[in-house]
């Protein structure tokens, strides 16, 4: 089966688009939306991976460390054992080691399971699950080991080791994405639940597997465009309705005009834009002026009042002590001081000024001195009062501000009042100044307040009512234009979507077809005579939220799968869906692990299952766990080559593994049974027994050759199978098995490991058989064959351990 289509999905889509009859804008839109091709990490990058062995210790039903060795190369391995023997523990160990998780954890009983992961009988055993894989071009033995450091099931770490013990990265060994997409594990819990539980998950897996994410993304982009456009339209409509509603409450000619423009069936964006543009510059200048007026500050009445009061007080003080009397007092004081000085020096008592005698005595001097002091104090007081008046006048003058620049050119009442106020600076007389300042300040303050209030009122009219609308109308105009674009784009996107849907379905069904066909094949093989038929398997629903749709019919009446199917049929269906996915060509896994698919199948389904597994096992390791002996029986009856490993559990979780049969034993067993029959005529015995023995020897050679090519020649799985497929004669089988080269002559090697073995091989090939007249002759042939087969199988192991040769 091929799933690598030659053309990329993107090219296919673009091609379809080119030949579609879509309108040009729709086509353009789709071209714009079609996603780029993503680089996909190639599945099978590291070559196929197979299992060499599964080991578990202290894990679930397994106590002491136990290893399940698997034969090399493709083939069917049945791991059989009674219920509770630890089979499923191995299956879960394999899945857990590789994926770090287990599907059982996700189920409803997950908590119980998560608690019970540890084996109860072996507290002293360190829990561990590990796998030895054959990886890559050289079939290297890589160990993936998961150990626990805590008591919870997820408190674990995984270590990956190469053949030389060096640490590797798990991603280098196993592609995590592939592990998800081509999951090689089918646990029992999923067999029954696939129909109602995991069809969605299966859909997603198929979707990725088939490289259909591009379709999903494309679809999502178109869908997003549709909903995005719809949102834009709805948003704008809501905006229009709200604006209209509120414009109605505004008493403004502009609002009425805007409302008219908005209420037409197709709102007139141009008109609104024109309205906004017309108003803008004039209104702006006016607004600037109003804003200035609104913040206009006149004189502070409290401050002015204080200054005027201080001025009046100073003026009153100065009037009491006039400047003139201070001067006079100072002069008089000077005169008296000079007289006292004269009296002190002359010691005369006559006044030198008026000539009166005996007046300038001691009493006079004391009185005159007191008078001098009084006069000096009075003079200083008058001086201070004069100073105080000057300061007060200056303070009042400082309060008076000139007319603001922006008011000067105006002939408004405010300017006149302000000029009157400014003129106060020219008044020097304290009383006059106080009176005028008081009047002018009161008048100016009053006028300023009126102007401010008026400006604020008009500003509020502008800013509070219209201005926000202007802003909103501008935003609305943008939205309305976006809406016009969105309406068209949305229309195109819807058309595009209608066109795209069937094409997506068609493309994905086309891609799925090989898988669907394979599912139907498997189903037919399993349920050949069931009244339930599996028709088409398609991917339904929208990408991302889809599920696998099964066309199930009972006696030609279609019906939902889970309601009409028996448990055995449900298991068969699960297998039908699991196998194509797990065995598709790009899967990097050369193995499948299936846990107990036989349960609840009737005998015929078991036969079908054996055939299906046999077909898968031609190029894959198929490891099937079962407690049911019917699969082994069917394998024996159908002559399917298989290795049967028996798992048995003794007390305390000690689990043993033994090989019950394998292709060599199968052939030898049949040959032995026939050889013991005394009723078998000689001609039949001569014809049949050497052929049966040959099958046994060739099976031994095949197993040995696979082991030797892998372990000694370092060949990868593919290379090994290519070599093995070319074998035709028993002699070349032996040469490849013993010497690793089918071209060489194997006689010496055969004789070395098993004297007389070469003669036996010649008996198989020549056709000129030695006659086998008696039962003893026949038993001897089978005995010699067993000896040779055992020697051949032992040779690879012996050489590895440095034994023979």
């Amino acid at each position: 089966m091929t799933d690598q289509s030659p053309a990329s999905l993107r090219d296919l889509l673009v091609d379809r688009l080119h030949y579609s009859d879509l309108a040009p804008p729709v086509r353009e839109l789709l071209r714009e939306l079609v996603p780029e091709e993503q680089a996909r990490s190639g599945g099978g990058r590291v070559g196929p991976v197979q299992l060499r062995s599964i080991t578990a210790a202290g894990w679930r039903g397994i106590g002491p460390r136990t290893t399940l060795e698997l034969p090399p190369g493709p083939g069917l391995v049945i791991v059989a054992g009674p219920n509770g023997s630890g089979k499923s523990s191995f299956a879960e160990a394999a899945e857990t080691a590789l994926t770090g998780r287990n599907s059982r954890w996700d189920g409803r009983r997950a908590t119980d399971w998560q608690k019970g992961w540890r084996n109860l009988h072996s507290p002293d055993v360190t829990p561990e699950v590990s796998l030895v894989l054959s990886v890559g071009e050289r079939g290297e033995a890589v160990t993936v080991r998961r150990t626990w450091h805590g008591t919870k099931v997820d408190e674990a770490r995984t270590r990956v080791e190469g053949p030389d013990g060096s640490e590797r990265k798990l991603e280098e060994v196993v592609d995590a994405e592939a592990l998800d997409l081509s999951r090689p594990f089918l646990p029992y819990s999923e067999l029954g639940s696939m129909i109602n539980g995991t069809l969605g998950g299966l859909h997603d897996a198929f979707f990725k597997l088939l490289g259909l994410e591009l379709l999903a993304e494309f679809d999502a982009r178109v869908k997003d465009t549709v909903s995005g456009c719809k949102q834009t339209v709805e948003h704008t409509d809501a905006l229009t309705a709200r604006l209209l509603d509120e414009l109605g409450t505004l008493d403004d000619p502009r609002a009425r005009e805007a409302a008219q423009a908005l209420s037409t069936a197709k709102p007139d964006v141009g008109r609104v834009r024109a309205l906004l543009a017309r108003r803008a510059p004039a209104a702006e200048a006016e607004l600037g002026r109003l804003r200035q007026q609104a913040t206009l500050a006149g004189p502070d009445p409290a401050e002015v009042g204080g200054a005027v009061a201080r001025l009046r007080e100073a003026a009153a003080g100065a009037e009491e002590a006039r400047y003139g009397s201070a001067e006079e007092a100072r002069r008089l004081a000077g005169l008296l001081e000079a007289a006292i000085e004269h009296q002190r020096r002359s010691r005369g008592t006559d006044c030198p000024v008026c000539g009166a005698e005996d007046r300038l005595d001691r009493a006079w001097a004391e009185q005159a001195r007191r008078e001098v002091e009084r006069l000096q104090t009075a003079a200083a007081d008058a001086e201070a009062a004069r100073q105080k008046v000057a300061v007060s006048v200056r303070a009042v003058h400082d309060l008076v501000q000139p007319v603001p620049v922006w008011l000067r050119g105006e002939g408004s009442p405010l300017t006149a009042v302000w000029q009157e106020w400014a003129r106060c600076r020219d008044v020097a007389h304290p009383r006059e100044l106080a009176d005028r300042v008081e009047r002018a300040a009161a008048a100016l303050d009053d006028t300023c307040r009126q102007v401010r209030e008026e400006a604020a009122r008009r500003l509020a009219e502008h800013d509070g009512a219209w201005q926000p609308f202007a802003v909103r109308l501008a935003a609305w105009a943008d939205a309305a234009e976006a809406k016009e674009a969105a309406v068209d784009r949305g229309k195109h996107a819807r058309k595009a979507r209608t066109w795209l849907r069937p094409i997506i379905d068609e493309l994905r069904d086309e891609r799925l077809r090989p898988f669907a066909r394979r599912s139907q094949e498997v189903w037919r093989q399993l349920c050949e005579h069931s009244s339930v038929t599996l028709g088409s398997v398609t991917l339904g629903g929208t990408p991302g939220r889809g599920r696998v749709v099964l066309d199930v019919s009972v006696d030609d009446m279609s019906a939902p799968a889970y309601s009409v199917m028996s448990q055995g049929e449900l298991h068969s269906l699960a297998l039908s869906l699991f196998l194509p996915r797990a065995t598709h060509a790009a899967s990097p896994f050369g193995f499948l692990v299936i846990d107990d698919p036989v349960q609840s199948m009737d005998p015929e389904k078991v036969e079908g299952l054996a055939r299906v597994l046999d077909a898968c096992a031609r190029d894959r390791q198929v490891i099937v766990f079962t407690h049911d002996t019917r699969l082994q029986q069917a394998v024996a009856h159908l002559g399917i080559k298989a290795t049967v490993l028996g798992v048995s559990r003794q007390t305390d979780s000690v689990v043993g593994v033994e090989t019950l049969t394998d292709p060599v034993e199968q052939a030898l067993g049949e040959a032995r049974a026939v050889s013991l029959d005394p009723g078998l005529p000689q001609d039949v015995a001569d014809h049949v027994l050497p052929a049966m023995c040959r099958v046994a020897v060739e099976a031994a050679c095949l197993e040995t050759a696979r082991r030797r090519l892998r372990d000694e020649k370092g060949l990868g799985l593919r290379a090994v199978e290519e070599r093995v497929e070319c074998l035709d004669r028993t002699k070349s089988y032996a040469a490849l098995a013993l010497l690793g080269d089918e071209q060489q002559h194997a006689r010496a090697a055969v004789e070395w490991i098993c004297p007389g073995g070469w003669a036996l091989i010649e008996v198989f090939n020549s056709g000129a058989h030695t006659p086998l007249p008696t039962v003893d002759d026949r038993k001897d042939l089978v005995r010699r064959t067993r000896k040779l087969a055992t020697a051949i199988r032992g040779s690879a192991r012996a050489q590895l351990t440095g034994g023979a040769r």
Partner: protein
């Protein structure tokens, strides 16, 4: 011993699918088991005939006859023969505590038996027997 395998198959068919309008006197379980006996007998007769043409005195042990058949009639015929024979044989036997086979179950074996009868009418092919082993 003269009844041909084809007549046995026809009888089995009638047991499994009674003609329209007739009411079968036997229960379905019994009819299924009887049909299984008839079909296995048919297969045995066909094998008898086959071996008669190969050798005058073939062993009577059914398993061995079918194991040897692989080297005369080919892997596929021999293995299908053995599988069908074993399944019919299981259906023939009474086992306590086990349900009898259903008619539907046995009916699915009938076309297989018919196919095998046709294959066993072919000439035994001893020349290519060796190559049959390779399959």
């Amino acid at each position: 011993m003269s009844t041909s395998p084809e007549i046995l198959v026809k009888a089995a068919d009638r047991l499994l699918l009674p003609a329209p309008g007739t009411v079968p006197t036997l229960g379905p379980g019994l009819r299924a088991r009887a049909a299984a006996v008839l079909l296995r007998m048919a297969l045995d007769r066909a094998l008898d005939g086959y071996w008669q043409r190969v050798t005058p005195s073939m062993t009577r042990i059914g398993k061995h006859r079918m194991l040897c058949l692989e080297w005369y009639a080919g892997h596929d015929t021999a293995r299908r023969c053995r599988t069908t024979w074993s399944a019919l044989s299981t259906a023939c036997h009474y086992r306590a505590g086990e349900l009898p086979p259903t008619t539907a179950e046995i009916r699915t074996r009938l076309p297989e038996v018919t196919t095998l009868l046709a294959a066993l009418r072919e000439r035994p092919d001893t020349v290519s027997a060796a190559s049959a082993a390779d399959t």
